[in-house]
């Protein structure tokens, strides 16, 4: 069942990453974001793959895995995949749908174009990465 542009915009504006961006950016986001459904157990991205985009979870939950080790669980409103968008390096972890999940997918080139045009978005992105860095620093594995 296709999601309308305004429903997409509503879902996007609930995501902290997109808080405070310009209405133009929001409109553009809603236009270019495509929704994808992932049945429980399927892989959304795989470690080592070249990344092509960022994902925002609309519904369901996912597990972040390195090999067999589960690093985290994410739910509606969370995003993943942005690191490869920023530096075009392969994915450092896999993400598997735990339940049936619906995501919005944003292609790298669209996201980069938006980052260049909207400083608030870039700032939110840095903040998001920095928060993750801090959270990761608190794990004690090697």
């Amino acid at each position: 069942m296709p999601v309308s542009s305004s429903e997409k915009a509503a879902a996007l504006s609930a995501v902290p990453l997109f808080a405070g961006i310009t209405p133009e950016s929001m409109m553009r986001l809603a236009e270019v974001a495509g929704e994808q459904d992932f049945p429980a157990g399927s892989f959304i991205v795989r470690q080592g793959q070249v990344g092509t985009g960022l994902y925002v979870i609309l519904s369901g939950s996912v597990r972040v895995l390195r090999g067999a080790e589960e690093l985290a669980r994410l739910g509606p409103g969370d995003f993943f995949g942005e690191l490869s968008v920023i530096d075009q390096q392969p994915r450092i972890a896999s993400v598997q749908a735990e339940t049936d999940a619906r995501c919005l997918a944003l292609a790298s080139w669209d996201l980069l174009a938006l980052l260049e045009g909207d400083t608030q978005l870039a700032q939110n992105m840095i903040r998001g990465l920095v928060a993750r860095l801090r959270a990761s620093g608190e794990h004690h594995h090697h």
Binding site: L83, D87, T119, I126, R134
Partner: protein, 141 residues
């Protein structure tokens, strides 16, 4: 080391964080940030303390320590402090000068406006933080 204004601006242009800025923009950056000097052993960022700022190293070396244990070192051209400022939370690590340290300091409340005024610096910071995250190699795709 005391740099003339021109030397300071030249040096800033050579740091990767400011590599995309024009000369007048570099001069603006030099004017907006304060030059400070700290002796060896001085903490610049303190675990758990409020009011931290953003620092770029012009000369010298620092150690990043958590609970007394060294985790990493930073040197000329590196920056630190942005994490606490952007998250609005106190630092989780100490940053200690290992020898006489010469830095540029921007007060925390000014960082956001500064990044907005200089988008190329923001993108460079974004890439540097992404790299750090990748090296921390613990997080998702």
């Amino acid at each position: 080391m005391a740099l003339s204004q021109q030397q300071l601006v030249d040096m800033l242009g050579g740091l990767s964080l400011f590599a995309d800025l024009s000369r007048p923009q570099l001069e603006q950056v030099a004017h907006k940030m304060a030059e400070e000097s700290y002796p060896a052993g001085q903490r610049i960022l303190r675990q758990g303390f409020s009011g931290t700022g953003f620092y770029v190293i012009l000369d010298g070396e620092v150690a990043i320590r958590i609970d007394g244990e060294e985790r990493a070192r930073l040197a000329k051209g590196d920056f630190f402090g942005e994490m606490s400022v952007l998250l609005g939370e106190p630092p989780v690590a100490d940053v200690v000068a290992l020898r006489q340290l010469h830095v540029l300091h921007l007060g925390g409340p000014e960082l956001e406006g500064f990044l907005r005024d200089h988008p190329p610096v923001m993108f460079r910071m974004l890439k540097a933080v992404a790299l750090r995250l990748r090296n921390a190699s613990r997080w998702r795709s």
